[in-house]
Amino acid sequence: METMLNAFLAPLGETYFQKALIGGSIVAIVSAVVGCLVVLRRMAFLGDALSHAMIAGVAGGYLVMKLLFGYEAHAPGMLLGSLLSAIITVALIGFVSKVSRVKEDTAIGIMYTGVFALGVVVVSIFRHYIHIDLMHFIMGDVLGVADADLWTSAFVAATVLSIIILFFRHFQITTFDPVMAASIGLPVLLIDYLLTTCVSLVVVSAVSMVGVILVVGLLITPAATAYLLSDRLDRMMLLSAFFGFTSVVGGLYLCVWLDSAGGGAIMLFCTLQFLVVLIFAPRYGMLSRWLRLRRMVPQQVIEDVLTTVLRYEKATPKAIISKYVDEGSRLSKVLKQMVEDSLLKEEGSSYLLTENGEKEAKQVLRAHRLWEAYLESIGAPEQDWHTTAHHLEHMREEETVDYLSEVLGKPKQDPHGQKIPGKTNDE
């Protein structure tokens, strides 16, 4: 018990852990909130593109600040550079897909790898001037968060969250129905650019923690997790922020306990969270879907019970029903539901048809007997009539049954000489 508690408390005393926790949470929360819009607008690939494109901007910002002003690794300069390169990349993507037949997904692929490559080449050419560790850039280093990074991400988070909260309705409507948004005079394009800028800002500040490769996960995975749990955008954003936060907390502990890479542990925890929700989500989860399918009583079984009770002509004990309707242990549930749906009445341990149930039952019987008559008319062997009709009787939309009746000359009796119930109950 003591060691358990200690496993949780000990890392909290370490400065590097505290910084990672604070920095990571800030970044994760704001990415998760913006990520909701990214997920709903199907821009996930764009997040990936932005993160790759920024290396060129980081290198550019570094170079300019160093060569012109003599600052070494000037953080705001690099931030501005990455933002610029992100925006240029987005503009290039839009340009290529507009002027050529190349579609947007391909344009994204071309431009982000191109700009990323440019960044890598620049960094390696100027390796004597700029000290950027490419591995750090690609993998991130959440455990080595510098104070400057912490401040930058806090500033970015505050800005982006304020924008999202202030313009929540604008983002909601332009995402959901851009045509209507334009029709009421909202500047849709401007709002799109504003969102892209927010995504770029978030991505840029998150890269130093989890790296280029994982940042898109931080953007979309918590949002997708929340998407499975909520039916309102504001709640989705809150939940998403929560999942972003728990990913960082869970991931950091994982990383300390397993002595693994920080960014990797965070994203792994985040993905596991998603998988758990995917399985257990109350409405959109796999388990509930499976249960719903299982719980659904097939219409055929209901119809079989109805005709059994109708043919028995008096209160029918469950034992009799189960002889004709082979449903095993599920029968009790079926009967219970039919009582709830007021198709059956319970009388002691026997069942009677309600008025509604009788109407339904007669229509099934009508279909059954018409199908039998039809089978006779096409020359099917007599011993098959009943079993085949028993299967066919569930095909009983009005048009089908009317057609049968018509084509058979509106018979009053089936081949066994039994009365075929009319379309309405009084016939």
């Binding site: 309705r169 409507i173 045509v179 039916d231 955008l233």
Partner: protein
């Protein structure tokens, strides 16, 4: 006919894409309180016509006036109901929230929707008999219910002019009736409805007036004047067999 009787006026409108006219010299004056159908074959410029009324296209020549005002100064005066296929039905949004969107154009950016906005949204929902579904996510509704929610949003906008893009596409006959019923009640409440429609067979029955376009304006008037064999065969070349049936139905 005085101008204040006119809801939407299109004057000599020509819109082109890459030097090909999508609309050519289209002029029409749609009167208030009418249920008007817009018909024409695929690629006839129906969607450009919608965009023009919403003020989304830059005309090469001509003007679109909404209640006597240039369309560019009349943003929000025409409420748009999208095609069912154009909506993301998995979007995390409830029926109530969609209806509330109709009020967004009146809410300044710095304040939240207030009680009267919410009441207006609920009132619009009750007009289309969807109040009891207010808290449902929109994907959990049937096709007809979904269409009604978007109608409620248009009603909540408070515009007198509603523009509907194929509201009857992909719904069954009973649903079609239910939607038509709502449209007629909106008309009775003093709305002008412009509806893009693809089914010639029902066009005569549903609408007060029809607009027949294929790039240029072929006819505007009551169905009997528009659904004429000569006009239809000119617009829908080579599909005469269908018209023969339509026209036969008409004359009955």
């Amino acid at each position: 006919m005085t101008t204040n009787n006119i809801a939407v006026e299109v004057r000599n409108l020509t819109v082109s894409y890459h030097s090909k006219p999508a609309l050519l010299d289209v002029s029409v004056a749609i009167e208030k309180d009418k249920l008007v159908g817009v018909i024409g074959p695929n690629g006839a410029g129906k969607s450009t016509f919608i965009k023009a009324i919403l003020g989304f296209v830059r005309p090469d020549v001509g003007q679109v006036m909404i209640k006597g005002q240039d369309v560019q100064n009349a943003k929000g005066q025409v409420a748009y109901v999208p095609q069912r296929g154009a909506v993301d039905w998995d979007f995390p949004i409830t029926v109530k929230e969609v209806a509330l969107m109709g009020r967004y154009q009146r809410i300044p950016w710095y304040r939240n929707p207030n009680k009267s906005d919410r009441e207006a949204a609920m009132e619009a929902l009750s007009m289309v008999r969807m109040s009891e579904f207010a808290d449902r996510q929109i994907g959990q509704l049937s096709g007809g219910q979904q269409q009604r929610v978007f109608l409620a949003r248009a009603l909540a906008q408070g515009s007198d002019i509603l523009l509907l893009d194929e509201p009857f596409a992909g719904v069954d006959a009973a649903t079609e009736r239910a939607i038509l019923d709502v449209l007629e009640r909106a008309k009775a409440a003093g709305k002008t409805l412009v509806v893009v429609h693809h089914d010639l067979v029902t066009a005569a029955e549903y609408f007060d007036k029809l607009i027949l376009i294929k790039q240029r304006m072929f006819a505007y008037g009551p169905p009997s004047a528009v659904l004429r064999e000569d006009l239809l065969s000119e617009v829908y070349e080579g599909k005469l067999r269908i018209f023969a049936e339509v026209l036969k139905k008409e004359s009955v």
